[in-house]
């Protein structure tokens, strides 16, 4: 157990150090605050903490260890990396200041989290409250520290909604869905239709988001119905097809003319097509989806006091999506523990046996699809309003795959794992990789390129060392390594872990003691 705590502590330290090296400045303080709390929690995980004192010792030790790494990284960043990128050295004092604050904050966060773990019966509540404080204050801290991470965190939270929804279908009910982005698209386009000049409807966002979720749920049922008899691979292929069809439909619904069908038949029989009664798009074909150019602009939410949400002001958006995610986590938790949730896990385990227990397979599967789709409907509605424009190319196959990877990487069927998987993939992709690219480029420009004489080699170096271009490669590599090292995901569902791991002594002992 302690060994595991040390291992996770090392991982956190590596993340914190990397963050400081890449971003510099006050990022050490922000990451120290976030990961210090995580380190404190992990140090106490699975242990009996008799009093806050024990927790404080464990937590602040973990926070301090993390903080030392932040301090070291700050010094390296300020004294070595900064000059290497062509800027003047920060000097020891400033490096010590940034790192020192990071160290103090990390230790404090670990200390506080440790203390809360010692609260006995209120331990869980206190941890949740602290977590809530961290999440609520994050954009403020982000602003003070000038790290500008809030926009990325909003993206992470949008994908968190998607991953949570997909986890219902794949993780709980065991139905492999490769076309999940379709529901995201349907949610977004529903929002686009109902609150944009496209068809001259400007409904209120607070109403539209519910309609979008309902329409997505309905689409889930419509997709689910033909797949009920399919299992495993076959189901995956059908959902894949659905995921491909939906964006294509949205791309092509640009010239709609609808005739009343009976009059149309008569008109063609008579050989006089002008007699057909036209219903929609009579004068000129009606453009529903805007094709490749998409729908733009989409209406934004408005609240009293705040007014209409603006694109540059992240705070209201952040709190809205945070609220949606928290609401979804609570709802899905209730669903999982309900009768329906038990029926889901039964059909995941064995359909025939589940059916013999008197579980209605049709209803249970359709509800899994519908519930899963509902949450991506929320995500789609938020996304449409947030970006204020939607294009069919945003919802292609890669989105379905990435969301599926988040679910599998984090741990199928475990919400904490899924959220963690989502955070890791999105943060790496949207935050760390671009920053890494920038830092590498500056280093290349100041240190390497001036010293390379051969112009061909110089060109080659300047264009080929770009981590952004390698992102799919890095992503694939991560997946391969993960599946070999930890096939059950980062935070596995206990059931799945038992199945995937060979029954070595440790897990056998665990099973016995349960």
């Amino acid at each position: 157990m302690t060994q595991q705590a040390m291992k996770s502590g090392n991982i956190l330290a590596a993340i914190a150090a990397l963050t400081v090296l890449l971003f510099g400045g006050w990022s050490g303080a922000v990451i120290g605050w976030l990961l210090g709390a995580a380190a404190g929690l992990m140090a106490c995980q699975g242990k009996k903490i008799p009093s806050p004192k024990t927790g404080i010792r464990l937590g602040s030790n973990a926070g301090l260890a993390l903080g030392i790494w932040i301090l070291i990284a700050s010094l390296i960043q300020g004294l070595v990396l900064f000059p290497a990128t062509g800027q003047s050295s920060l000097g020891v004092i400033q490096g010590l200041l940034f790192g020192g604050v990071g160290l103090v904050v990390a230790t404090f966060a670990g200390w506080l989290m440790g203390a809360l773990q010692g609260l006995g019966s209120k331990r869980q509540q206190a941890t949740r409250a602290f977590l809530a404080v961290i999440l609520i204050t994050f954009p403020l801290i982000d602003q003070i520290a000038r790290t500008n991470w809030t926009a990325t965190v909003i993206q992470i939270l949008i994908f968190a909604l998607l991953a949570l929804g997909l986890n219902i279908v794949v993780g709980y009910a065991g139905l492999l869905d490769l076309g999940y982005a379709a529901f995201f698209a349907i949610g977004a386009y529903t929002t686009g239709f109902l609150s944009s000049p496209q068809i001259n409807l400007e409904w209120n966002f607070w109403l539209v988001i519910w309609i979008a979720a309902a329409v997505a749920a309905l689409a889930g049922v419509i997709l689910g119905a033909p797949t009920l008899r399919l299992r495993g691979d076959y189901l995956a292929i059908v959902t894949l097809g659905f995921g491909e069809i939906v964006p294509v439909v949205f791309r092509n619904l640009t010239q709609i003319q609808i005739y009343e069908p009976i009059s149309r038949i008569f008109a063609s029989l008579l050989g006089r097509p002008e007699l057909a009664i036209c219903l929609v798009g009579c004068d000129r074909p009606f453009n529903l989806t805007g094709g490749e150019a998409g729908i733009n602009p989409i209406g934004r939410p408005t609240l009293p006091l705040i007014g209409t949400f603006q694109s540059g002001q992240y705070l209201p958006w952040y709190y809205l999506i945070l609220l949606l995610v928290v609401f979804s986590v609570l709802m899905i938790g209730r669903l999982r523990d309900s009768r329906l949730g038990r029926a889901w896990s039964a059909i995941r385990e064995d359909e025939l046996a589940a059916s013999a227990m008197g579980i209605n397979l049709v209803q249970t599967k359709l509800l899994a699809f519908a519930m899963g789709a509902t949450f991506s409907g929320f995500a789609g509605a938020f996304y449409g309003a947030y970006i204020s424009a939607i294009f069919p190319s945003v919802f292609d196959f890669s989105v379905s795959v990435i969301v599926l990877c988040m679910v599998i990487l984090g741990g199928l069927g475990n919400m904490t794992g899924v959220l963690l998987g989502c955070t890791i993939i999105m943060a790496a992709d949207r935050l760390y990789l671009p920053q890494l690219a920038q830092v590498l480029k500056s280093i290349l420009n100041t240190l390497v390129l001036p010293n390379v004489a051969n112009p061909a080699l110089r060109d080659f170096l300047a264009t080929s060392i770009d981590p952004i271009q390698m992102r799919l490669f890095l992503f694939g590599l991560t997946l391969v390594v993960m599946m070999i090292v930890r096939p059950e995901g980062l935070v596995p569902n206990a059931e799945r872990q038992a199945e995937l791991r060979s029954p070595d002594e440790e897990s056998l002992a665990e099973v016995r003691s349960q």
Binding site: R342, A346, E349, D350, A353, A354, M357, G358, I359, N360
Partner: protein
Amino acid sequence: MTLLELRDIHTYYGNIHALKGASLRVEQGEVVTLLGSNGAGKTTILRTIQGLLRPRQGSIRFEGRALESLSTEAIVRLGISQSPEGRLIFPRMTVQENLEMGAFSRRDSLGIKADTERVLMLFPRLRERISQKGGTLSGGEQQMLAIARALMARPRLLLLDEPSMGLAPMLVTQIFSIIRDINTQGTTILLVEQNARMALTVAHRGYVLQTGQIVLTGTSKDLQSNETVRKAYLGET
């Protein structure tokens, strides 16, 4: 009183005619066994009774009610539950959760609690393993769990599909004595078995199924002394 009656049942797997007009009857309180070799259609009969397969022709009546058009869900609620062939337990659920799934069709939590207690009395081994995952149990324990889970629906008719399959001889004897206990406590049982010798010791009556048709029926005693049965199913010459 007749609890279950099948009349001239024809069931198909696609184009394969699996049951060719099978008829049988189970009286209240009986243990009736269905004998037959591999592929005779024994499992098909049980699945047809529970609505997992639909007969193309024929009638199934349970206490006078027609079952052919009811969903499996409704049939389970009427009081027919099954311990399926090959012990299809839920491997990643604990023993406790498996039992709860067995009671899925019921909503009376007090009754469920009482029945959990009752089946754990019948199968004390399961009590020892109550929080262990189903998949980690031994073969015999899994079979016990499958039967116990079927009992959790508080069935009036219990369908048992090959409870002795793949078990050591001593366990087989144990399982069959429990089957007898379940019957004495008032549950009617339709038992499908390849182990004809054991099946005929607990059953009151039996049917012999051959390529989708009932070819022989009688009391266990009659069947035990029947020439054909002795040769084909009891392995005597």
